[in-house]
Symmetry: C2
Subunit: 444 residues, 2 copies
């Protein structure tokens, strides 16, 4: 598999909209609606406020909007801020290799569309290709790359942003290879940042620097044309294993976007099995916290690695605590944003129940699965094995589920008629003559 | 060595200008003069033209100048472009661990000074600290990190830019730790890009993103406070070896800037021994190309790894060819920018002589050393062993040498009175009430 960078570049450049299957294009609308929900819902978060405060004095012309807000700025800074806001709630979409595909790609594309008026079909096509590129690049180094400590949404996401932006900008194959090379050499993001605001910086910077890579390549700014596969390229430097066939095989025969997953719960996917199981048992048995003696969770090793905080003090920390996730799901019967707020983490009943949650590793479980056992004060034990949590490919959220999530997340920011209009535009994406209308409809 | 990120942050924050030794502050002036020479000399390069074309439509308010040019833009984009131009000639300073210390740090500091009017003493102090941080971080992972394929000027440079900018901005210790964490998670740059324009993007982006990290931290944007030492932090993820004592030991007792090196020749330091040896033999024996049968070089393995191109077609490729370096040094008796131009690479006499250069690896040589043997058509063989090339710590360039280099590089861009004024400002750095005057004097 020589010349994989050039091969990938050529495939992206030669891809035709006419060849996109209708279900894949519909999935682009689903992803866009879900992404808008996350970005708008996250737009008032203090992470976004602080990023905006740091960016605004230096931003360029009013070319693109910040979703959910009034600020307008140059497309590179807009891509950065929208990338940050779309990931701040940890509610964005996820793919099997732990990539959140939309958050690095849509911010780049929407800013370009608003600036230059690309059609919805062009945007949808570029998005499908961006997701294709980032997920394939991610898979070529997964799981070793992720296990080593890289936040793959940042490291692979920049390839998606570069490819998608490059497609919209009409790069030729050589320029596209340069853009991918510039993505390779700017690929960054460490999992050590999980639990701090800086986690959101990763998709934001991936969107911004990926977009910038495409803009640089268009001006003839050169890079290596073997950025992925060279001895000192992305694959070998950032991973102990690099399999270029994961990038090349099956191109056009299957689409990465077809296996995209949307979260019903506002935290890492690894806790969704636990939350789902807890809510199921609560609803079926009318459980209240006072009835519960102890909760015993069995989870895959990754779950405790990512969500092992036993005593979270803030909503953000709560998102990295499977103990909080279980407790709040049992007390509230939900796992939305409200359940991962500072207030929810500090609630007396939630905190007390959290102290009665035990978690053990079960190597036989996949990281999406969970086993929940609840010992009641009356001596009974209720158990639920969750093989496929809500939001998984086996139990996907429906279009109606996604629209409900969209309204719940954006309700505090946009008025009902604005929300309904934006949702209609997302569903009609491929028919829009100017996709910039979406960005303009998504600001408050 | 726990908490090295916090320790480093605290030391930078607590450092006092009064404690800086005078020779170290003088070295800051030398570094500044040399850096200005490189940035101004490189300011008309097509790499810079293309970067500017890609950046200008999106740049913000006219806060800072682009050295050697008329454009003014926001400090983040100015830092990017000045970082690119300062590295484009491969003529910037170098430190023992292969870091080019000035190019990621000065662009951030000069832009800040021009925007906010910091004094020359403040700028010099912040620069000393930035170099201290980047070189120590670099040494903590050297050589494994570099050998693996990381361009350490980008990966370590961003720490220097973040620390230096954070010092000027008056960050407290916690904010400084965040800035260093954000540097860690944006640390990037692959050696695969050597030989393309993208190599210069590394110090440019390091300057821009390091500066941005400090600006974000000032607004309370959080990151991990163990960005360097954590299991999934910079040291362990980007290197197979991480030695935090290299960061901590001897702080304040010695200064990294004291071992800074300046290049007399316009290519990678690894070829300077070869060029120096060739020029010495040429001058001593009045050699002309026609007298030479064959040139046999012995060099360290790294030399051929970095400069192994046998048939360069452009000036840029010539900078990665020890064969060209030897040939052009013998033909021209020099190794400046003119010798690494497209024209010089294509010169018939140079190309012919280049074909008669052989290079062999000698493991006993350090990467700065070289052995040159020239077999003449008359049967004689002239030999020169270069243990310490001009520009090394053992044979440093004098202040006068640096000023000569400055005038040679900037002569095509600035008029003589402007050049003389700028040089005076650099030498008087610590006495300047407003260091922004340097940036304003360095534009054409």
């Amino acid at each position: 598999m020589q010349d994989i960078t050039k091969t990938l570049a050529r495939r992206v450049v030669e891809s035709r909209y006419e060849d996109m299957p209708a279900p894949v294009l519909h999935e682009a609308s689903r992803a866009l609606l879900n992404w808008c929900a996350c970005a708008i819902g996250g737009s008032r978060h203090e992470t976004v406020e602080r990023a905006l405060a740091a960016v605004t004095p230096f931003a360029g012309p009013a070319q693109a909007g910040v979703l959910g807000r009034r600020e307008r700025m140059d497309i590179l800074n807009a891509a950065l801020v929208n990338g940050i806001s779309s990931h701040v709630l940890d509610f964005d979409d996820t793919q099997a290799e732990a990539i959140h595909p939309s958050s690095p790609v849509f911010p780049a594309l929407l800013a370009l569309a608003e600036w230059r008026g690309f059609s919805g079909a062009e945007l949808a096509h570029a998005f499908v290709l961006g997701v294709e590129v980032e997920c394939r690049v991610g898979r070529s180094v997964f799981p070793q790359h992720y296990d080593a400590g890289w936040h793959i949404t940042g490291t692979a996401g920049i390839f998606g942003a570069a490819a998608a932006a490059g497609k919209l900008l009409g790069l030729d194959a050589r320029q596209m290879a340069w853009a991918l090379g510039m993505a390779a050499t700017q690929s960054a993001g460490l999992r050590e940042m999980f639990g701090s605001m800086c986690k959101c910086l990763h998709p934001g910077r991936a969107a911004q620097n990926g977009l910038h890579a495409a803009l640089l390549a268009r001006e003839g700014f050169t890079s290596s044309e073997q950025g992925l596969e060279a001895k000192r390229g992305f694959g070998h430097v950032l991973s102990s294993r690099f399999d270029p066939s994961a990038i090349a095989d099956g191109w056009g025969a299957r689409y990465e976007l077809s296996s995209n997953m949307y979260k019903p719960f506002a935290c890492g996917l690894v806790a969704h099995g636990v939350i789902d199981g807890c809510i199921q048992l609560r609803d079926e048995h009318a459980l209240r916290a006072g009835l519960i003696e102890q909760i015993d969770l069995k989870v895959a090793p990754l779950v405790l690695e990512l969500m092992g905080k036993t005593a979270p003090r803030t909503g953000l920390e709560g998102k990295f605590s499977v103990f909080h996730a279980a407790a709040v799901a049992l007390v509230h019967g939900a796992g939305g944003e409200a359940q991962f707020s500072d207030a929810a983490v500090l609630e007396t009943e939630v905190a007390a129940l959290r102290g009665r949650v035990r978690a053990a590793i079960d190597d036989s479980l996949l990281w999406t699965q969970a086993h929940v056992a609840i010992r009641l004060r009356d001596g009974r034990t209720l158990e639920r094995h969750v093989a496929h949590p809500l939001g998984s490919l086996e139990r996907p959220m429906s279009d109606a589920d996604l629209e409900q999530k969209f309204h719940a997340l954006t309700g505090g920011v946009l008025a009902a008629p604005e929300r309904e209009r934006l949702a209609r535009l997302c569903w009609a994406l491929t028919a829009l003559p100017d996709a910039g209308v979406i960005a303009r409809a998504a600001v408050s």
